[in-house]
């Protein structure tokens, strides 16, 4: 049996993993990514491999409404980003 450490429990014992990272994206009128700023580097999007949407948890105070893109950047790297269609903010998906 695990010994009771008698330490005070954390207020938020479940820590989220792989939180999306906010990024800057230059987008087209149709909200397609044109270029992405990663750290100090601004990279153009060479191609969009796939686009998909997630609309979920609409019954909750913070519904999810996102459009994802798997893109290939000009440096050849492949990343997944999404735009939060409610706030208009862009994020990089970690996993």
């Amino acid at each position: 049996m695990v010994k009771n450490t008698r330490k005070k429990k954390s207020l938020n014992p479940i820590l989220p993993l792989n939180q999306p990272i906010p990024i800057n994206v230059y987008e087209s009128k149709t909200l397609s990514p044109i270029s992405i700023t990663l750290g100090q580097h601004k990279l153009n999007v060479s191609s969009l491999e796939e686009t998909w949407e997630i609309i979920d948890e609409w019954w909750k105070p913070n519904p999810i409404k996102r459009r994802y893109h798997r893109v290939i950047l000009e440096n050849g790297s492949r990343i997944t980003i999404f735009i939060d269609l409610i706030t208009g903010l862009w994020f990089k998906q970690i996993a």
Binding site: I54, I55, Y68
Partner: protein
């Protein structure tokens, strides 16, 4: 151009979120030339879809998304009539295959039913798309090669769907490559599940409901986004910009699918095999002439003329075979009666007919002669036109009422005789009602069940669209309506209301066909076993032109048959109910006094108040009586008008002499449906078919434009016949869309009402025993029936473990013992076991002996004690309960040692009268020895008057009354009618809208005190309520019957 070829309506139960109408209207707005309906494994909406699509000018394509044995999906579209027939057979097969509860098609069966069908490879759950997703090239190729062999290269299309779901792009690329390899065409579809994106929330909710999960828990089952809607063509085109032929192929497929369900079904009326010497008509004539000689002695001119007229019409519409099938069914029912011991082969059919006609068919002499109806239409001068005429647009309905047990047996025998592929029960689509919406939506949102139960219990509306205003009215829910979570609840509840829930069965409609029905509509076994239902409801069946036969179960007929049997058992007299004296004024006198509780058709409060004014003295007037109290008559003030003219001989005049042939028999008032048709024909020159359409137009939802059109035709026709426009309008305004009886139906029901009154008057013991045994039926609960029985000198006695039978049975000429099965928790099987044990091992000697011999569960034993079944051993019910507690051991545990319990006995005080009453109400729903008000009254103010005192109080007096609410009626007029019952009788209460709004929450309580004003009219006394108070009773009471 684009046509959607993969579309689910809400007939894809708990999956599709839009109705057929919503989808079609949206498709029309988007300019689609064609739309395919491809619901999951059923064609429940196919006919409705086809009819509506034809009406709005969109090409309907009938299809389905079928499920194969491995759970994968395939989209099938019927190109031709043969293809449609194959589709029906595939779906039927899927419902019978391997006795699975989920439909599944065996690929070997599919292989042999491909002609006329176009195959699309399916959604992401299709076998080939799934293999594509799994990157299993070889397996996918093998699968496609198989379908090419089965369906032919030209009839297989690779289906591409782009719903913005992760993986769609890869899958589609794979599928395009596969199509190229095999030289196949690709086709774009959108796997539509709702007509507009906003409806995805309901679709998510439905999926959660289907999986019995909350929205939170159903993450994996729900679709990822809201892209499954009918998309504008430009949107679809942009999704498939690299493959434009995927869109143009939708049109090509649509052009190939020439089968139109509404137009091309080709149903033929059922035929009847006759010997070489006969045609169906000549054989039917032979049967009728023989019966006419038996019934009338000879075939006189009147009989001959009517028969010739009917035979001519039967020939015109090729209905002879159909009538002969009915004749055969009546013979089957008669045999069932004999086999069930309800009749004997010696008893003539006419003396105890197995069923009774209702509706317009009662006017047919042929129907009377072949045993379909119990009423001689010539004796009552019933006109045939509403049933059969020479200008009909649809086939006539024949409805038959049967006692419940005969109907059950008859349906089974019809399936046996004709086979389930030739005789099936009409489907019925169960839809979401208010309480179901609250329960299911509340559950998926995770709302506590206690809240949902409270809301369901308190809500006082039938339509979920009013849920917000209803919640605002209820103190415990008022504050919730602004909470976002409850707002979602209210929206979803409202959206779900009326949506199809599952395929059920019509109460009694059957279709019979000479050719296999499974080529026309899918059939599946019912959950009830030994029954088979088709996928169409009565409206789709009417659209298909099928002949539907209605076998309805009528509790009254069961009551009537049981009464006659009980009379014969007690007195030895076999009564021919068809030959009793129909002019017995003693019976009519009892009706005039509204002594009609439990009497079919004339027991409602409205009927009781009319019957005392109309005072029927013969069967014609009984027909007036039952016809009068219908919304279609009452809503245009027809009842008062008719009574004033007929009873009080008030003067009146026709609005125009042309009304006379139609309205003379009812003193210028429209009492019957037939009279609407007759007026339209006589006053405005309508053809029979047009007149029938006019009558139906008034009853249609949103039929205003149609009525406007008919008014124009009516006006023109009437003016041509010399009727002024203002008079024509006066006559036209007499038509009503509310329900009315056909004249023949009123006679049929009037006669049954009289027969039941006759039994009640002369054999009240049997009347009450039978109505107790046939519950649930009628307007009143057992407590009210018990009070009425007592007023007739008939006393129901408490259940006695040593004397009661399974059902109620006579004890002597004035009393009867309640049946054991009336106890809550004692099933018919348990009750039968008790009786058999008693018969074989002798009477029970004590409570201990009973408990040890019967092996009943604890609750059932306690209920028997509380119902008074052990009073024979001890009058102290508290002691009886104590004793049961001491000796009861569940059957599942080790037997206890037979030790004495004497030392554990204690002296307990007996229950009070109130406790006994509460126990009996809780366990049997009635209190045979007394009435609630009898116990309450000593504690109430002396100012509260009894029902016996009210008639003596002057009109307009202010009074206070109290009682148990036995009826609440909320008709369209917004007035509420209540009936209070006390220990002396009934008190009628009228609650006007203002008072209703003020006391709405109190009105749902079971015992009320009401202050109001006496309102007397002729023989009726009502109290118009002004103040309503709840009398709090914290025990279960018999529930009132509520009617809207």
């Amino acid at each position: 151009m684009y046509a959607e070829l993969h579309c689910h309506s809400n007939y894809s139960f708990q999956e599709g979120a839009s109705s057929v109408e919503e989808l079609l209207v949206r498709a029309m707005d988007l300019g689609y030339p064609a739309l395919a309906l491809t619901d999951h494994d059923n064609l429940c909406g196919a006919m409705e879809f086809s009819r509506m699509a034809n009406d709005i000018g969109i090409q309907p394509i009938t299809g389905a998304e079928i499920t194969l044995e491995d759970g994968s999906h395939l989209t099938l579209l019927s190109r031709t009539r043969k293809g449609y027939s194959n589709l029906c057979n595939l779906i039927t097969h899927s419902r019978f295959h391997k006795n699975s509860t989920n439909p599944k098609v065996d690929p070997d069966f599919l292989k042999n039913h491909t002609e006329g069908i176009t195959l699309l490879t399916g959604c992401a759950r299709g076998k080939i798309p799934a293999l594509a997703t799994e990157r299993r090239d070889k397996a996918a190729e093998k699968e496609i090669a198989k379908y090419l062999e089965w369906f032919g290269t030209n009839n297989v299309f690779v289906e591409l769907q782009q719903n913005m779901i992760y993986g769609d792009v890869y899958r589609n690329k794979f599928l395009v490559k596969l199509a190229k390899k095999y030289g196949l065409n690709c086709v774009a579809t959108n796997n539509v599940h709702y007509h507009i994106p906003e409806r995805h929330q309901l679709q998510d909710a439905l999926v959660a409901i289907r999986h019995n999960l909350t929205l939170e828990e159903s993450h994996l089952e729900r679709r990822a986004n809201n892209n499954f809607y009918l998309k504008p063509v430009a949107e679809i085109a942009s999704l498939f910009s690299e493959l434009p032929e995927a869109l143009s192929n939708t049109i090509k497929i649509a052009e190939q699918c020439t089968f139109n369900l509404k137009e091309d079904l080709g149903y033929e009326l059922p035929n009847y095999p006759v010997s070489k010497n006969h045609t169906p008509l000549s054989y039917l004539k032979k049967i009728c002439y023989q019966a006419a000689v038996r019934k009338y002695g000879s075939i006189n001119a009147q009989v001959l003329t009517r028969l010739e007229e009917e035979f001519h019409l039967l020939q015109l519409y090729n209905l002879s075979g159909f009538f002969l099938i009915y004749y055969e069914i009546i013979q089957l029912a008669r045999q069932a009666m004999i086999d069930l011991g309800i009749s004997s082969s010696e008893t003539p059919l006419e003396e105890r007919p197995p069923g009774r006609g209702r509706g317009s068919s009662v006017a047919s002499l042929v129907a009377y002669l072949i045993g379909l109806s119990h009423i001689d239409p010539l004796a009552y001068n019933l006109s045939l036109g509403r049933f059969l005429n020479n200008d009909m647009s649809s086939l006539p309905d024949i409805d038959l009422d049967f006692p419940r047990n005969i109907r059950e047996e008859l349906i089974r025998r019809i399936h046996d005789k004709y086979g389930w592929d030739h005789a099936v029960i009409t489907g019925s689509i169960a839809t979401y009602k208010m309480k179901g919406c609250i329960k299911d939506i509340g559950k998926i949102l995770g709302i506590p069940s206690k809240d949902l139960h409270n809301l369901s219990r308190q809500i006082d509306t039938r339509h979920s669209k009013d849920i917000e205003s209803e919640m605002a009215r209820l103190p415990s829910f008022r504050e919730k309506i602004n909470h976002p979570y409850w707002q979602i609840f209210m929206k979803l509840t409202s959206d779900l209301h009326g949506a199809p829930k599952y395929l059920s069965q019509h109460p009694g409609g059957m279709i019979i066909s000479s050719s296999p029905l499974t080529n026309m509509v899918p059939v599946q076994p019912s959950t009830e076993g030994e029954r088979y239902i088709c996928h169409w409801d009565k409206d789709s069946i009417a659209d298909a032109g099928f002949v539907k036969i209605d076998f309805l179960a009528l509790g009254t007929l069961s009551q009537l048959h049981e009464s006659l049997q009980l009379i014969e058992n007690r007195t030895g007299k076999s009564i021919d109910i068809s030959r009793i004296n129909f002019d017995d004024q003693e019976v009519y006198k009892s009706i005039h006094k509204a002594d009609t509780i439990g009497v079919f058709q004339i027991e409602s409060a409205a009927q009781m108040q009319t019957v005392t004014r109309l005072k029927p003295k013969n069967l014609r007037e009984m027909a007036y009586e039952v016809a009068c109290v219908r919304p279609g008559v009452g809503n245009v003030n027809g009842v008062s008008q008719f009574i004033s003219r007929y009873v009080n001989a008030d003067k009146w005049e026709y609005d125009h002499p042309l009304e006379k042939p139609a309205l003379e028999r009812t003193h210028g008032v429209i009492l019957y449906q037939d009279q609407v048709n007759e007026l339209a024909m006589n006053v405005a020159g309508f053809q029979p078919r047009e007149a029938d359409h006019l009558r139906r137009a008034f009853g249609r939802k949103n039929g205003e434009s149609l009525i406007k059109k008919y008014w124009s035709q009516f006006k023109t026709g009437a003016i041509k016949r010399g009727v002024s426009e203002s008079t024509a309008l006066k006559i036209f305004n007499k038509f009503s869309g509310q329900y009315m009886f056909p004249e023949s139906h009123a006679y049929a029901f009037g006669i049954t009402a009289y027969q039941m009154s006759w039994i009640k008057h002369y054999y009240p013991l049997e009347f009450f025993i039978a109505i107790f045994n046939q519950q649930p039926m009628g307007f009143y609960n057992l407590e009210t029936l018990k009070e009425d029985a007592k007023r007739h000198g008939i006393y129901p006695l408490n259940i006695d473990i040593n004397k009661s039978l399974v059902e109620c049975a006579p004890k002597d000429n004035n009393s009867f013992l309640l049946g054991l099965s009336m106890t809550k928790g004692i099933s018919n099987t348990n009750a039968g076991h008790i009786v058999r044990n008693r018969d074989s091992e002798g009477p029970f000697l004590s409570i201990t002996d009973t408990v040890n011999r019967l092996n009943l569960n604890y609750l059932a034993l306690k209920n028997l004690a509380r119902a008074g079944a052990f009073d024979t051993f001890t009058p102290n019910r508290r002691s009886a309960l104590w004793e049961i507690g001491l000796i009861y051991r569940p059957a599942s545990i080790q037997l206890s040692l037979p030790l004495s319990i004497e030392q554990d006995r204690v002296t307990l005080p007996n229950m009070s009268d109130w406790e006994k009453m509460a126990g009996e109400y809780d366990t049997t729903n009635l209190y045979p020895q007394g009435h609630l008000m009898e116990i309450l009254r000593p504690n109430m103010s002396a100012k509260i008057l009894t029902s016996a005192e009210i008639p003596k109080v002057p009109n307009h007096s202010k009074v206070t009354v109290a009682g148990l609410v036995i009826r609440r009626q909320h008709p369209r007029s917004h007035k509420i009618f209540l009936t209070l019952e006390d220990e002396y009788g009934h008190i009628s209460i009228i609650v006007l809208p203002k008072v209703f709004n003020r006391y709405r929450n109190v009105l749902s309580q079971p015992v009320l005190k009401i202050i109001g004003t006496v309102s007397k009219t002729q023989d009726n006394v009502n109290i118009v309520a002004s103040i309503i108070e709840n009398i709090y009773v914290d025990d279960p009471l018999p529930p009132a019957k509520n009617w809207e």
